[in-house]
């Protein structure tokens, strides 16, 4: 069930991101990029899956009593964390850059930008 919802969410995010990416407004393009990279993050997170926690894989569970919970794969979480940080930095940079484009060109419209040499 979770998998279905996650799949739908990832699909919706990609659709929204692509839609925004194709707009004429530069800020929307940046938003589109941000959403697409978040969609990739959610997808990455969904790739890990849940496994039965055992004392082998999670040593602390050995002293935890009988009720061993399911554990999520920690590797993908680490990967996503890295990807989020990188994506955050890049989004900020892209926003600054689009402000700079606005300063230089007096417009944020993609098709106007293309016309000037």
């Amino acid at each position: 069930m979770t998998a279905v919802i996650l799949a739908a969410v990832v699909g919706a995010l990609f659709a929204l991101g692509t839609f925004l990416l194709l707009r004429r407004d530069l800020i929307r393009v940046v938003w589109g990029l941000a959403i697409i990279s978040q969609a990739a993050n959610v997808y990455l997170l969904a790739m890990g899956g849940l496994a039965e926690g055992t004392a082998d894989s999670v040593p602390i569970l050995a002293g935890h009593g009988d009720h061993v919970p399911q554990t999520a794969d920690p590797l993908v979480q680490a990967l996503v964390l890295t990807a989020i940080v990188i994506g955050f930095g890049m989004t900020a940079f892209a926003l600054v850059l689009s402000y700079r484009v606005y300063e230089e060109h007096d417009t944020l419209d993609v098709s106007d930008l293309g016309d000037r040499e």
């Binding site: 997808y43 890990g48 940079f93 230089e104």
Partner: protein, 532 residues
């Protein structure tokens, strides 16, 4: 090999001190070159060299920790970057004083080198992604460096494209992790070679690898992902364009070679693609058949688009940027050949051809971009219509440019000759007439745009811009040193060939790679991730 990273980081940190910045940067560059040379010697060239060396960061065993690996292929690539990096760095010191207030140039330069180095050394896919980002972040800023309208615009498209590429990269990485349960390249190769032992279904890897291939093709600038190159190269400072063309493109090529031959070569996945009306176009029992076919198309299109585009440009940078697209086609074509052929001998030859050609491209294109930089800082323009008679104004510069052009064309005894020769040799041995025709057309186009650029800028009547030019001695010196290197590589080709040979052996010998990294065997492994 960690020393390489430390050298880059140290020079970066020290680079913040304003006065000593240039000196420390140069020292850092020199230290980098020395370390790379040492790695070359101990890992590959020395008589009892191991061929592969690994460093497990934090002493974690292979598939769990971060692994740094250097083998012949990485070492070969690192050497190219080191040579070009030094040249570009020395060149930078002469261009920059006028715009010294932009003080983050040198630290960024080292970041770029750091990213490229990391990408060559890393042993797992996700770290490849991270190093790509490190490298790209520095290059974004360099593309926007001059801060004029067209620079910010170029940088914006460049950033957008690469952000999208990064998202696609993550998708590929995530999918591969879910499918195989590992991201370590050696572990991946081991698991794909024997999927049964690990209980995995490797078929999706082909599709996921196609995603990665498109990302690497963007970095390498292969058609149909070439559109960002001309604007970005024109916007970046020339010495950075030299690095972009010479180093970051090679990261794309390196990633393709590494993943195709070290990781995927032994994978046991039948591939078959039938197109209605044509019949089976791709068939084979390894993903390489697919990779090869895709690369063939991209390489062929690159050669044509790049060559034809270069003939019609009106600025030298434009010509070089398009020529760069074409030349990458020449590098990718033998890689594609190696991926599709069944003969181990031909595969080896083709990879050697690709590497030698890549070396030639790095040297020649680096030289030409630096020469453009020298022309631009001397005359203030690089438009062909404003230039003329440069040969009389500065004969040394003309000689350097001439050597670079000839190396692109492939005249003996320059390095370009052997690159071209090996590529043609590989194509001839594959007995593929269309390939030979394609290569011939590509070479003719190269001759056409090289002579056109030469005639328009160096011969003819002197224009006003050229008459008033004051040529910087150090800049021309760097260009001449690179020209000497091109001649030296051509004349003393034997050791270079041996190095490339060792690199190709390393690239194709995934067993040695896996043994060196030594990932945990299947029976020692408890439940991996990747269950879903």
């Amino acid at each position: 090999m960690l020393v390489v990273l430390v050298a880059a980081v140290a020079s970066l940190l020290l680079g913040r001190w304003p006065r000593a910045r240039i000196g420390v940067s140069l020292a850092g560059g020199a230290a980098y070159a020395v370390v790379v040379a040492a790695i070359d010697w101990y890992v590959v060239l020395a008589p009892d060299a191991p061929g592969v060396a690994t460093y497990q960061v934090g002493d974690w065993p292979a598939p769990f920790g971060i692994t740094l690996v250097v083998d012949g292929l990485s070492a070969f690539m690192l050497t190219m970057v080191a040579v070009l990096g030094i040249a570009s760095l020395v060149f930078s010191t002469r261009v920059l004083p006028e715009i010294d207030r932009r003080s983050y140039y040198f630290p960024l330069f080292h970041f770029l080198a750091l990213g490229v180095t990391g990408a060559f050394l890393t042993g797992d896919l996700f770290n490849l992604f991270v190093w790509f980002e490190v490298m790209l972040m520095a290059s974004y800023i360099f593309v926007a460096y001059y801060g004029g309208p067209q620079h910010t615009r170029a940088a914006f498209w460049y950033v957008s494209l690469n952000l999208l590429a990064s998202a696609v990269f993550l998708l590929g990485v995530g999918g591969i992790y879910a499918t195989t349960g590992t991201l370590n390249m050696a572990d991946l190769a081991q698991r794909l070679a024997d999927p049964g032992a690990y209980g995995l279904e490797p078929a999706p890897v082909v599709g996921l690898f196609a995603l990665l291939l498109s990302v690497f093709a963007i970095k390498a600038g292969l058609v149909p992902f070439q559109f960002w190159i001309p604007t970005a190269y024109r916007a970046a400072p020339p010495q950075i364009s030299a690095l972009l063309a010479g180093a970051t493109k090679k990261v794309g090529i390196y990633a393709i070679i590494r993943l195709s031959f070290t990781v995927l070569a032994d994978a046991d996945v039948p591939v078959e693609l039938a197109v209605p009306g044509v019949g089976t176009v791709i068939a084979g029992d390894s993903p390489l058949a697919f990779v090869g076919a895709a690369l063939f198309v991209m390489a062929a299109a690159s050669i044509l688009v790049g060559g034809i585009g270069a003939v019609g440009r009106d600025s030298i940078e434009g010509v070089l940027a398009y020529s760069s697209i074409g030349q990458v086609g020449f590098i990718a074509l033998p890689v594609a050949l190696a991926a599709t052929t069944a003969s181990a001998e031909l595969r080896h030859l083709a990879v050697v051809a690709a590497l030698v050609y890549a070396l030639n491209h790095t040297l020649a294109k680096g030289l030409l971009f630096l020469a453009v930089g020298a022309i631009r800082s001397a005359t203030g323009t690089s438009r062909l219509s404003d230039l003329g008679g440069l040969a009389g104004r500065s004969p040394p510069l003309a000689i350097g440019f001439f050597v670079g052009s000839l190396a692109l064309v492939g005249i003996p005894p320059l390095s370009g000759f052997f690159g071209k020769f090996l590529v043609f040799d590989a194509a001839a041995r594959a007995e593929s007439a269309p390939l030979l025709v394609l290569l011939l057309v590509g070479s003719l186009l190269t001759i056409a745009y090289a002579t056109r650029t030469w005639n328009r800028s160096f011969w003819g009547a002197r224009t006003d811009a050229v008459e008033d030019a004051s040529v910087d001695v150090v800049q021309v010196g760097v260009v001449l040193v690179l020209a000497t290197a091109i001649v030296a590589v051509g004349v003393g080709f034997e050791p270079v060939y041996e190095f490339a040979d060792a690199a190709a052996t390393a690239a194709l010998d995934s067993e040695a790679y896996v043994d060196a990294v030594d990932p945990v065997e299947p029976d020692e492994l408890e439940t991996g991730g990747g269950e879903h």
